[in-house]
Each structure stands twice: as structure tokens, then as C-alpha cells.
Symmetry: C2
Subunit: 310 residues, 2 copies
């Protein structure tokens, strides 16, 4: 008997996944019936995006798992109608895309590229930047994505630190944790990269007080979640020249509204939530593997700890 798999995400996602998923299931040797609708009581697995219309899981009585195709789960983790295990997406494309975007924008600020990309006055000022080993980069949040970014930056020669709620250790990365550790991490940062999960505790991590701890002339890069930053405090720190530049990929409202000051601030770069996108092909392999595990009674990969919120 096939496993019944419901695809519950925006219709444009279905266009990306309709061919890719059956191929991944076949490759994994799975017998799957994949559809956009079922009688709820017949569904075994839901492939899910939190902006789907499906928000009430009560009628899905035999559900084995809800498999989120996003890395972020804050929009579903508190849904009390969901009793089945929730998994989040950790795939090669998601991690690799994040590493590329973060490394690229870190190097951009490190090298001072913007002054060359836009240079109408034809300034020729051959002052080379410091070497990466003299640039202190701190990644706030060294989970799956943050750790991959921190390792890539250390590999390129940057002086890298990471901060996490619980103390970690790593041979190439200076690890900080806890509230005092956050202060120390901010004080040593020429470039801060935000890759924390969004929880009540992490909201407004970069507020006025935190920004004031960063050295004058430092940089903020946010590919994590918009509400990690107190936007008003960041704008004030940019206006004061305390923060030299912010490159932001995520926002409290997306698309970023046309009248938001980030769009026109000379020290802000907006990118349209592209730092890391689930790619259907690499994602489908992970979904197939989790269905295989569910059918075999093995533990799922990347199960969300809903009490912790990630």
C-alpha cells in the first residue's frame, strides 16, 4: 500500500516540485501517492510550507510527520493543532547557497568593493585592504547554516568567532555563549552575521544596546530573520556612522514595502530574500529520505524541538 503524501504549499511551489519529487521517491525505492488533496484522515505525510492555506491539522488523524520545506519554522512551531513530528529543511542547496551569499557579502565589505562598483569621480586610491586574518567576523547562531558559514570564512583566513545559546567548541572558531558571551562577541566584531533562529528570546538581538557594543565602523549582515534586528535602532546607528553598512536579506515584512527607509538609506543594501532558497532537487532527496525512514520506523532527520522553537 502506498504512503499518501499531501503537498501543502503555494501553487507556484507545486510547479517546482511536481516532477522532481516523484523522481526522488522512485530513486529511493518508495511507493508513494503524491497529491494536492486527500481526505485528511488518509494522509500519512505532509510536505509543508508555513504560508500554505492548511493551518488546522486536527482532521489529519493518522499523520506520521509534517515535513517543512523551509529552514525557518517559527510560523508553525506554535500551532497546537499539530501533534505529529515536525521536521525542518536542511538540504545541501540551502546550506551551500547560504555559504555563498554570506561569504560573498563578507568579502564585499572586507574589500570595500562598493567604492569601486560606484565611482563616478574616478578615484584611484590604491590602498589595499587588511588581510582577512586581521578582520574579526562573528556569526551569531552557529547551528547547521551558521556553522557552515563560519567554517567557510575561517577557511578563507578570517578571524572568526561564533555565538550560540549553549556553549560549543570548534578548533578554528572562537566560541561564545550566554548573555555575557554575546557582549564579548559583539565587542570584537568588525562584521556581524545574523543566523539565529527566530524565537521570543532572539527577537531584537541587535537592539540599540547591542549595536553600541560593536566597534565604530563595523558591518551588519542579516541573512537570518528580519525581527532579529530592531530596525529603528539599526537606522539610528547607521545615521550616526557607528555602523558603516548593513546588508539585509530578510525583513519583518516581505517584500520590503516601497516606503521603508532601508530602500533609500545610502548605507543599507537590500537583497530580496535570496541568501538561501530551498532548491527543489536537493530538497526532494531529503524529503524522500525522511519518508523512507518513517516507513521503516527509523527516526526522522532534522526533527524540530518545538519547546526550543527550532
Amino acid at each position: 500500500m502506498p504512503a499518501n503524501v499531501l503537498f501543502a504549499a503555494k501553487p507556484e511551489r507545486w510547479d517546482q516540485y511536481r516532477d522532481v519529487l516523484p523522481r526522488a521517491f522512485e530513486k529511493a525505492g518508495l511507493d508513494v501517492d503524491l497529491r494536492l488533496d486527500f481526505a485528511p484522515e488518509e494522509v500519512d505525510y505532509i510536505i509543508y510550507a508555513p504560508n500554505s492555506e492548511l493551518q488546522d491539522f486536527t482532521p489529519y488523524t493518522r499523520l506520521k510527520a509534517v515535513m517543512n520545506i523551509w529552514a525557518g519554522v517559527e510560523a508553525i512551531t506554535h500551532n497546537e493543532t499539530l501533534k505529529a513530528p515536525l521536521t525542518r529543511m536542511v538540504d545541501f542547496g540551502l546550506r551551500q547557497g547560504m555559504v555563498e551569499w554570506v561569504t560573498g557579502h563578507t568579502l564585499r565589505h572586507h574589500l570595500g568593493m562598493d567604492a569601486h562598483i560606484v565611482n563616478p569621480e574616478k578615484r584611484w586610491e590604491p590602498t589595499p585592504p587588511p588581510l582577512a586574518r586581521d578582520r574579526r567576523v562573528t556569526v551569531l547562531g552557529i547551528g547547521e547554516l551558521g556553522l557552515a558559514c563560519a567554517e567557510a570564512l575561517a577557511q578563507l583566513g578570517f578571524d572568526v568567532a561564533g555565538w550560540s545559546r549553549r556553549q560549543k567548541s570548534h578548533e578554528d572558531i572562537t566560541c561564545y555563549s550566554g548573555a555575557d558571551g554575546l557582549k564579548d562577541a559583539l565587542k570584537r566584531s568588525d562584521i556581524v552575521i545574523l543566523l539565529l533562529p527566530l524565537t521570543p528570546e532572539t527577537e531584537n538581538t541587535l537592539d540599540a544596546e547591542a549595536l553600541a557594543l560593536m566597534p565604530r565602523g563595523s558591518f551588519v549582515i542579516n541573512p537570518g530573520r528580519g525581527p532579529l534586528i530592531d530596525d529603528g535602532a539599526l537606522l539610528a546607528a547607521l545615521d550616526a556612522g557607528h555602523i558603516a553598512h548593513a546588508t539585509l536579506d530578510v525583513f519583518r515584512r516581505e517584500p520590503l514595502p516601497g516606503d521603508h527607509p532601508y530602500w533609500t538609506h545610502p548605507s543599507v543594501t537590500v537583497t530580496p530574500h535570496i541568501a538561501s532558497e530551498t532548491r527543489a532537487e536537493t530538497c526532494a532527496e531529503v524529503l524522500a529520505e525522511n519518508i523512507r525512514r518513517g516507513e521503516a520506523g527509523a527516526p526522522f532527520l532534522h526533527v524540530v524541538d518545538r519547546a526550543a522553537g527550532y
Copy 2:
């Protein structure tokens, strides 16, 4: 008896080296007399930059080596008054600076950053770029600097090839060589990085014919030497949209003259010869090591093959 070391470069270089060199010599346990002038027949070693006033080496009769502090040696290699061994600079700072600049600008073009850095129309178009594994990067010239760049790009996940005059092999880099190999290398390149030495054979490597072999919409990055490119042919290929963008750090005349079309072309980024700069501290360690070798009768590091021109 101390070794007599003449410093022959522009006065502004002396400001960078005057304190750093004695420290490096002391650290290496060397007995050195370092000066800006000596009677020529008393000089053992010359620390040299090709734009120095010293161009006639005939009176330096007991010279053991001329140690260039630049990586490029084309301005001295054909000087027939020089009979002593010539070494070129290969130092950590030079290599590392080049890796950072090349990796940064490769990621910039790969990620399409410019469209976000300058975006007055507030376009929000969340189409993520392909992953690095789907971007074919080719480094022309895989000597000391080119190989380090190719390895860093392969480490980040790019699909990397290298071209050199003589066939090489490398486990992570597809190696091409010879005239036919150059054509194959250009045909497969989304991004071409020029790191060839400048010799009569490499001048105008990127001419109209070579540019035509590159796929439409590809990118040129030149941190090597200005004359590697036929400027007129590149401008024509940019105007035709065949080449999407060129990022150039080196030019036939530097500073790049204010009326040069590269300054105002919308598809060209000029950087002021900063991709890789000899850093006094890391450089001094290499100079001290070569003097130590010369005094011990051991072979010098990084000796130039003057027939080959590098």
C-alpha cells in the same frame, strides 16, 4: 662580516620597510648592513622594485642576488646588465590578498550583487542564483597565485578549470594546456580570471577571437597584468553584450587615465591595482630567508627563469 644589502625602490617603500626589514633579519639570525646607498662594488644583495632609478647593474660586480619585491618581473627580466640571479616575490600576503580579491569578485558576479548594491527602482525579484557547482570558472595561469585562487574557488564549490602553458594535473581542478587547450578552456567559462605572467606570448591573450569563444553573458576578471587583454576587443565584446561585465585591476597605463572608456563603461568595474599588494611584514620574512640561503650557499627561493620570462 655583514652582508651588504642595498634597498632600491621608491622612497615611499622605504618608509614601509625601514623598520620591518631589520626585525626580520634579526629574527633570522642574520648579520646585515642595510642601506639606501653603497659603493656598487660592495653590494651583496639588492632588494629591488623595477620602478627604482637603478637600471644599470654593470657596476655591481659582487652581487649575489637581486630580490624583486613585486610578483611581476617583466620590467626587469630583459635587463641585460643584470647577471646575478633574480628572485621574485612570493609571499603569504601577496597570495592571500589575491585569493581574497579574486574570490570576492567571483562571488560578486556569481551572486549578481551589483543589481542589489545599486537598485534605485527598488526591484524585489527573489530569484536565487545557481549554486557555485553550476558555475564554470576558469583561471588562466595556474602558477603560485593562480593555483591558490583556483583552489579557494574549488573549495567554495565552484566548477573550476585552469590553463597553463605546460600541462599540469590537480585533483579538484580540470587542467588545460597549449593553444587548443586554451580554446577549450575559454569555451567552458562563465567566468574567466587572468593570472598569467606577462610575456610576448601572453600579451593580448584575450583578443577578439578568444573573447568570441567565451559563452554569451560571461564575465572577465583581470588581476594579472593589463596587456593580457586587447582593450579595444574587450570594449567591443562588452558593447555587444557578449561579455556581461569586466572587473579590471590592472591596466596598460596606471593610474588608468581619466579619459579611458573603462572608467565610464556601465559594464566595467575598475579597481586601482589593489588585488594583491606586497605587504612589508610578510615580504620581509621571505627576503630574510633568501639572504640566509645565499650566505649558506643554499639555492634561492623563487628564482626567475629569465628565458621563460617568469
